[in-house]
């Protein structure tokens, strides 16, 4: 209040001009954030991890990387951290870049620092891409269930949907012709019969025709039962099954983790949409003739994004842990590339002789996951309007 007066002495007094919140929401959020010390530490580690991962991406890839994670030096195996290389036994291009092995070397004499930097990028992309997939699926399905949930799905549409699924299944199994025919046929039938439902279900038809075109389930029920089905699978076991059956690749892991972790987001978004839909500003927008798409994207999603953001942050932590677990079991990224999980898995045979091979990646995973968890919890506090200062 006083700042305004000093900076702009000719402005009208506080009561005479419209009351706007002092300071932007961002600034307020930042102040709240500074007070939450754990979350702030989380954010700092989070930023460091970002830098490390991007540096790792730039410095360890390519034909002549600055830090070579795949450089084998058998005469230098299992050197402890901070030890100096024996320069007389190494060629010039084998000498570690920093002049010493900052994190030691593994059982093949590879520099653990370079491998950690390469692995950081893998963890980062797995975390973000898989959670991105999960959040998109969750927002779309949750949003549809929350906004269009009361619409009924007709029996014929469900049957066509099953046809599409069957077609996709056949496509996956290699039967391209029938798969395409069934899939396209199903989609076209749904699209063409969408609007005309009322006429056919008239009372003059026999009962089975009416049943065929009758509203059967609401969209909401359909989607929420799908969520229930997904929740029945033990998630790590399901991921393990699919990853083991698919060819080993980092992209498969991202997709599989994404496809199996959207249920929470969908539930959040649905609940938010159900309550937002009844609020006055949405009714007002609808009364003004704003289209459904604009109401959803412009008015509802920005208001529902808070809990999604929190669950996404914590979801990234979970995804990083899952990827590390898969790599640890040997089902992750194929061998020459390093991930934090497989550095640890390689080091487990030397746990008493070379504990740094366990501790460096273990502590790194712990710190990153911890920072995401703390940051997510801090975010939850910030987005909670009850804790915001009312001054």
């Amino acid at each position: 209040m006083t700042e305004h007066k000093e900076a702009y002495p000719d402005r009208p007094k506080e009561m005479e001009r419209p009351l706007v919140p002092k300071g932007s929401r961002l600034k307020e959020a930042w102040l709240l954030f500074r007070r939450n010390r754990l979350a702030f530490v989380g954010l700092v580690i989070f930023c460091l991890f970002f830098l490390l991962a991007f540096a790792g991406r730039i410095l360890t890839y390519g034909t002549k990387p600055v830090f070579n994670p795949a450089q084998v030096r058998l005469q230098e195996k299992l050197r402890p951290p901070l030890s100096l290389p024996k320069l007389e036994t190494l060629r010039t291009d084998e000498v570690p870049r920093l002049g010493r092995y900052l994190f030691g070397t593994d059982h093949l004499g590879r520099d653990v620092l370079a491998r950690m930097m390469q692995g950081a990028w893998v963890s980062l992309t797995v975390g973000f891409v898989s959670v991105g997939i999960a959040v998109v699926i969750g927002i779309v399905l949750g949003g549809v269930a929350g906004y269009f949930g009361q619409h009924l799905v007709r029996v014929d549409q469900i049957l066509c949907g099953l046809l599409v699924l069957l077609g996709l299944g056949l496509l996956g199994a290699g039967n391209a012709l029938w798969g395409t025919i069934l899939g396209l046929g199903g989609i076209l039938t749904i699209a063409l019969t969408r609007k005309k439902g009322r006429k056919r279900g008239g009372p003059s038809r026999p009962w089975w025709v009416r049943f065929f075109f009758a509203g059967f389930l609401s969209v909401d029920t359909l989607i929420m039962r799908l969520v229930d089905i997904m929740l029945c699978f033990p998630s790590f076991f399901l991921i393990l099954t699919v990853v083991a059956l698919l060819p080993p690749s980092i992209y498969n892991i991202m997709i599989v983790i994404g496809l199996t972790s959207w249920e929470g987001t969908a539930r959040f978004v649905r609940a938010e949409f159900l309550s937002l839909r009844e609020l006055d500003f949405v009714t007002a927008a609808r009364a003004l003739g704003v289209s459904n798409g604009r109401i959803i994207f412009r008015h509802m999603i920005p208001n529902a994004v808070g809990p999604v953001l929190v669950s996404a942050t914590i979801g990234i932590a979970t995804a990083i842990l899952t990827e590390a677990g898969l790599s640890f079991l040997g089902l992750g990224v194929p061998p020459p590339d390093a991930t934090w999980g497989n550095i640890l898995a390689d080091g487990k045979d030397y746990i008493f002789d070379a504990p740094w091979l366990t501790f460096v990646p273990g502590v790194a995973i712990l710190l990153v996951v911890l920072s995401f968890n703390l940051f997510g919890e801090g975010l939850r506090d910030i987005l909670n309007p009850k804790l915001r200062r009312r001054s």
């Binding site: 039962r225 033990p234 099954t241 640890l344």
Partner: protein, 319 residues
Amino acid sequence: MLSFIGRSVVQKLVTLFFVSIVSFLVIHLAPGKPSQVDPLNPKFTPEMVERFRKEFHLDRPLHVQYALYYRDLFSGKTISWKDNQPVLKKIAERFLNSLWLFIVGTILTWTLSFPLGIRAAIARGGWYDRSTTFLSYFLISIPGFFFAYLLIIVVVNSLHVPVIGMNTFGIGDPPWYRALMDRVWHLLLPSVLGATGGIAILSRYVRSQMLEVEGQDYVRTARAKGVPEEQVHYKHALRNALLPFVTMFGLVLPGLIGGSVIIESIFSWPGLGRMAYEAILARDYPVILTINFISAVLVLAGTFISDVLYMIVDPRIRL
């Protein structure tokens, strides 16, 4: 009540039916065939593969395979493709091993997280609260396999006890008390590891539940009429805070078969998780599908039990 039970049983059966379809499709549509697991094995001639496919109905269309598989499952005749053993017998054997871990882990979780959470709620904002908060984030974030190796290093270096496997190898036929101690030592680390995540999450939940109840009017009233602090916390607040946890007994059920793959493989514990992992690697579809089916049944039964328990303990709930 009865109509609720009827409706929810029907709903759960429908869900289970779809789960069985989805898991069957996921496994059978993934690239790679079980008959290709070991193409370099000279014993694996094309005739062998053909016989193998015929034997296990792999030459039939998918929906027939589906019907055949579930017919076998319900009549208890499914056999593993790997060693021709009945699947249910294999699972029952491993289940008994996992049961040990499950029981000890559950006892640890439930006995430790309540005191931790309650004390943190009472001392809200104090150093105890803050350190348990941090500790629980720490335990949630630590990768299980890393924590396992930390514990192995500490326990093996300082206590000099064997921890891998279910018994010490070659221990022979020791007196019963030695055998018991041996089993306890082997059980300790895996079950502690299995319980860490549970302790961290459950103690946070206990804390927030306790805080919510402490803010209620009846607690303030109790305090205002001069009830001693101890009694306010443990008699007025705690009893009401315990309500939601009754339902969690149902949600414990899926843990029976969840058994951690990673922990069991680190400690060479011959439990269900490890068996599932081996089955996945060997593409032993009947074993994978059966474990999946049983765990889906347990999840559904767990939610059902927790719903019913909630209705019994909380008369305000009308489902």
